[in-house]
Assembly symmetry: D5
Homo-oligomer: 90 residues x 10
């Protein structure tokens, strides 16, 4: 997820969106839907791991994020690696 807020966007509105985004992200993490969330160094971007039942659920989650209109998102479908030893990395 790359976030690109235009330089002339109202900074107060941007802060509001970021604050709601943060709450949503943390609530989804607590529910276990948003499993991992890392910052890419040097960029206003993140790499996230979602654990959802269906592609529809994933789309519903990310497309309703407050910053979705400012994001470029690429989804890579992952599954269990035969050499993985973590039960929860499926």
């Amino acid at each position: 997820m790359d976030v690109r807020i235009p330089p002339d966007f109202d900074p107060i509105r941007a802060d509001e969106l970021k604050s709601v985004e943060r709450e949503r992200a943390q609530a989804l993490q607590k529910q276990g839907k948003w499993r991992h969330l890392w910052r890419i160094a040097g960029q206003y971007s993140n790499i996230s791991i979602f654990d959802v039942e269906t592609v529809q659920e994933l789309h519903d989650i990310v497309s309703t994020l407050p910053l979705f209109p400012f994001m470029d998102i690429a989804v890579t479908p992952l599954c269990r690696h035969p050499s993985s030893i973590r039960e929860d990395d499926r």
Copy 2:
């Protein structure tokens, strides 16, 4: 990590390399160095999260993997996301 073993490579030698690779991957996971390991659906590729002290340690780990000569590896440096709630995702 994309793995590309040439089609004319000796399949017995390939299986040996894959077997050692798997043991190395699992040992590194047990040590906590190789934190996550997922298969990218439809590809002979994986996405991995390493938790190392230094860039040098990361290079020493991956460049000594048995399949390293057949891999294309791209490293994205990650750090803690301010909205993350997992202590171990730094």
Copy 3:
């Protein structure tokens, strides 16, 4: 799915693989897993729509196709479009 069989690959073996591939593709279509299958004009490539329960199931299906070692596969996760009128395009 782009198929690239090396020019010096044994043509008899290639025909065998293609024949088994075809049987697998048709069986999976009959099961409803492989929903659509089109040829891209001018290329030895196809565009396919799979209807599977999990990412794991998709990976297990395509990674065991006889021609998988010769394929470049890119998976795009799809879901229902709000303007779609077909019940089965989810």
Copy 4:
């Protein structure tokens, strides 16, 4: 089809365009011209399958969609796959 409506576009006008777009899309689906329509997960984009008589007809359909000025469209010509078992996937 990727849709990119500029962030400063009038939201009421955007909603009107989307509403007309939806009606057009559904009418074309009912006529059988717009055979399939899926959402790409995480993106304001779709993958569509059209079933038209000529390239001209395809261009006339998509270039008169209300959101056409905001779309990047790439057309891949498809034809019947020899292993397909669906009569209507030609």
Copy 5:
């Protein structure tokens, strides 16, 4: 259409293929299916305009060309331009 014959391919067999290719290309031009054929300067590539009834017909024509296994082909669907004055450029 980019043609890439491997450097170690038998030159006599290559000349045979090119000769048959040329006959096929000229026959198709005489039928009006292969409307235009230009060489891209400095490359073993061509730009061609086909005039076919269906995508299927186009695929059947190019995929049975003798040099098809050595070609990279990209198909761009064209239609009549509203400012064109040539009746036959549709």
Copy 6:
């Protein structure tokens, strides 16, 4: 030639430019300089074949088109294909 008129460009001025562009394009076709002109399906783009004496003449023609400031143009130099049977496709 890809045409990209900004969404906030004055539509009356845009229509004037398109109208002059069309006249210029048709005059150049009548002179035989602009040999072919096709629309790329699904895009506000065209593929054109020019038949000019020099590179300078080509540049002078396209750089004085009314829509030139809004176009991305890529020129591919073409010459006669040895298998072509049309005298005028040089």
Copy 7:
């Protein structure tokens, strides 16, 4: 680091940001965190070598630079080369 300040950005504010950026860059160089800094000829871009303890420290440094909102930054993790003879190039 590529810097792209929009052409309509207030030039006085831009000069202020550049001045603070320069002070920050020089302070970080004196601390030894920002080891090298070169201009790429012909571009408003630089290539920099940072010497930091952690990825987090690198992100904290560059994401707080005054021009960060106008930069495209790509981070390549480096480590000691076995043939290097400089003790400080690790």
Copy 8:
């Protein structure tokens, strides 16, 4: 060097900049620093050959051109070709 002046840039100021640019370009050509200058057909771009003592001199020349803020410049370092017969193409 690609020049991209925004469509809403003041045309009088643009003409002034282009006029000074032209004078600078011609003065540098007379000094022998700017050895060759060609227009790329169909584009507002040029290919130039500079003959400078150092990379620094090249950067100082191009980064002070009046249109520099509107240019994308890629520098390819060239040297004498062993088969060249021109003394001045070093």
Copy 9:
């Protein structure tokens, strides 16, 4: 022009081809057809300026070079720049 001779190509044959290539290049330079020839630093590639009557002549020249089968060639059509002061850079 990028030259890529396969590592397993007979080195004696390669030297013969390079020698004939060099003679051809120098003869064409003496005729004024091959106006400039530079080496790209760090690569087995060159940038060349040709001065020919037609696109056909250019293709005939480069496609008969002894190393043509091992080259990737991209042709950029150039013309006189309005600010150029060299009569012979047209």
Copy 10:
């Protein structure tokens, strides 16, 4: 500099080349020509800083490295950054 030695290259010859490469690299570092040399983590690639008088000297150095035939090299011309405080980073 990316190094790609084919998998079927004689490993004894490869080790000889690497050993001579290492000696050359260290001698050039001692002379101050090859200023910096880092390994890119996870790749058989390096990023190097050269300090040479001319482009010709750079090409002569890298094109005579024993592994040059197996390398992809991209040269980025650098110069002093106005905010740099190191006298030797010019």
